[in-house]
Amino acid sequence: MINFEHVLKVFKNSWTALYDINLKITSGEFIFLVGPTGAGKSTILKLIYHAEKPNSGKLNVLDYNLHDHIDDNKVAELRRKIGIVFQDFKLLNERTVYENIEFVLHVTGTRPQLIPEIIISSLNLVGLANRKDFFPYQLSGGEQQKVAIARALAKEPKILLADEPTGNIDYKGSAEILSLLKTINYNGTTIIMATHDNVLAETSKKRIVSLENGKILSDGV
């Protein structure tokens, strides 16, 4: 489903963020990317959703060759199959929870008559259907992240990428987010979660890919 072979990523300022990355992720897995700040976790996620291009090596995601040239419409198509959540949630503050999800569904070409039902069922999945008319600033950090997850799930992605999803959230909220992600994974979505919180990853008994200075140190359960 995702395959990195000898992937090298050098940024424009000639900083090498990733050296010779080999990583195979199969459908239905739950993977933690762990490592200190600057290790290259976000860069790996960006390569997967093609916000960055590899400098050399091979990268395949859902049958798209991301090492070759790929046109913008193909990138958009790939991204519609991937859900992404971030540490800062990336919600639109002047729109309600409902409208945030609605926005994404419209701009990804969902049939309008299906949209209300999809929004309610994805909010039910994260347990926030009763908050649909709230604005993001009226919610706790944990709730905002759940809205972001609901928004990502609304498109029924094959892969869910989470970049430090618990980074801005207290301990109890983090535990809730993690258990929510596990439920989503249990229902069949592949999940890749980047975190600098080793403890959170280790208590989960999932595959952990440990990165440091752009290299994979270890990979296993």
């Binding site: 913008d72 419409n73 990138v75 991204r79 639109l92 701009v107 990804t108 309008p112 498109k155």
Partner: protein
């Protein structure tokens, strides 16, 4: 594509920053109005030229002993001559009476008819250019029995000059209008794009196509230009309404002016959006 939703987004963008939208539409309207006024002017000068050209004929005044039948034959053989009509001294006086209307009684004090007989020479349309007309007039004036000729050639030359100056102005103004409308619209749309950076980022992350990302901004630019063009048209109509009582022969091709304004207004609005988008979104 989600046209309806994206258009609603465009209208949200517009209402969120009404003042720049109206400012931009207003400047577009002023620019288009400037050009529209020149266009109306050009159309009217052109019309006057055509009317004058239609009426062009050469009057060849005869000496008292001239043989008008022989001269008519000779003139008919010249290139470009369509028809020759003999106006006797009496006919000339009658025409003058009609022209003078109720003032015609001043002619009663005349002892005898001072007007000369003449040949009125009608000309083919392609001989109505100043140079050809001049040559023809020259040939006629050299015939024996012709005292003098008159063709109004000078008026045509002057009209041709006016038209080329006005047309030059039109092109110059059109150029200025193009640049100004595109500039002001692109600046306004750029501000909207920057204000919508978050939405654009999310759209790209979730896999909206670039057409979807850009569509609302094209809608915004289009409506700026469209509103500008409608305002320009309405002001033109109002101006014309007031002026036409002073200058009754002035003509106003409403439909042409409307179509012209809307066409260029929307094209330039969309062009402004295009420039803004290609400057800010890669």
């Amino acid at each position: 594509m989600a046209f309806k939703f994206l258009s609603q987004e465009a209208f949200k963008n517009i209402t969120r920053n009404k003042s720049s939208f109206f400012l931009s539409s207003g400047v577009s309207a002023a620019c288009l109005l400037l050009f529209t006024i020149f266009l109306v002017l050009t159309i009217n000068v052109y019309r006057i030229k055509n009317t004058v050209e239609d009426r062009i004929e050469i009057s060849a005044f005869l000496t008292d002993n001239a043989n008008q039948i022989e001269l008519t034959d000779k003139i008919m053989q010249l290139d470009g001559v369509k028809q020759v009509q003999y106006i006797s001294k009496d006919d000339a006086l009658k025409e003058l009476r009609i022209d003078l209307g109720e003032n015609s009684n001043i002619l009663d004090i005349l002892q005898r008819n001072p007007l000369p007989a003449s040949l009125r020479v009608k000309i083919n349309p392609d001989y109505k250019l100043p140079t050809k007309l001049g040559e023809l007039e020259q040939k006629i004036s050299l015939l024996k029995g012709i005292r003098e000729t008159w063709s109004g050639k000078d008026i045509i030359v002057r009209l041709h000059n006016i038209i080329s100056v006005v047309a030059g102005f039109d092109i110059g103004i059109l150029f200025i209008v193009f640049i100004s409308v595109i500039f002001i619209v692109s600046r306004t749309v750029e501000a909207t794009i920057l204000a919508r950076a978050r939405e654009i980022e999310i759209m790209k992350l979730v896999g909206a196509t670039s057409a979807m990302v850009k569509f609302p901004f094209y809608v915004e630019g289009f409506f700026q230009g469209l509103l500008g063009s409608i305002v320009s048209f309405l002001i033109t109509v109002i101006i014309f309404y007031f002026i036409s009582s002073f200058v009754p022969f002035l003509q106003m091709p409403y439909l042409l002016i409307l179509v012209f304004n809307i066409f260029w207004g929307s094209i330039l609005g969309i062009g402004g959006s295009y420039i803004a988008l290609s400057r800010i979104l890669k």
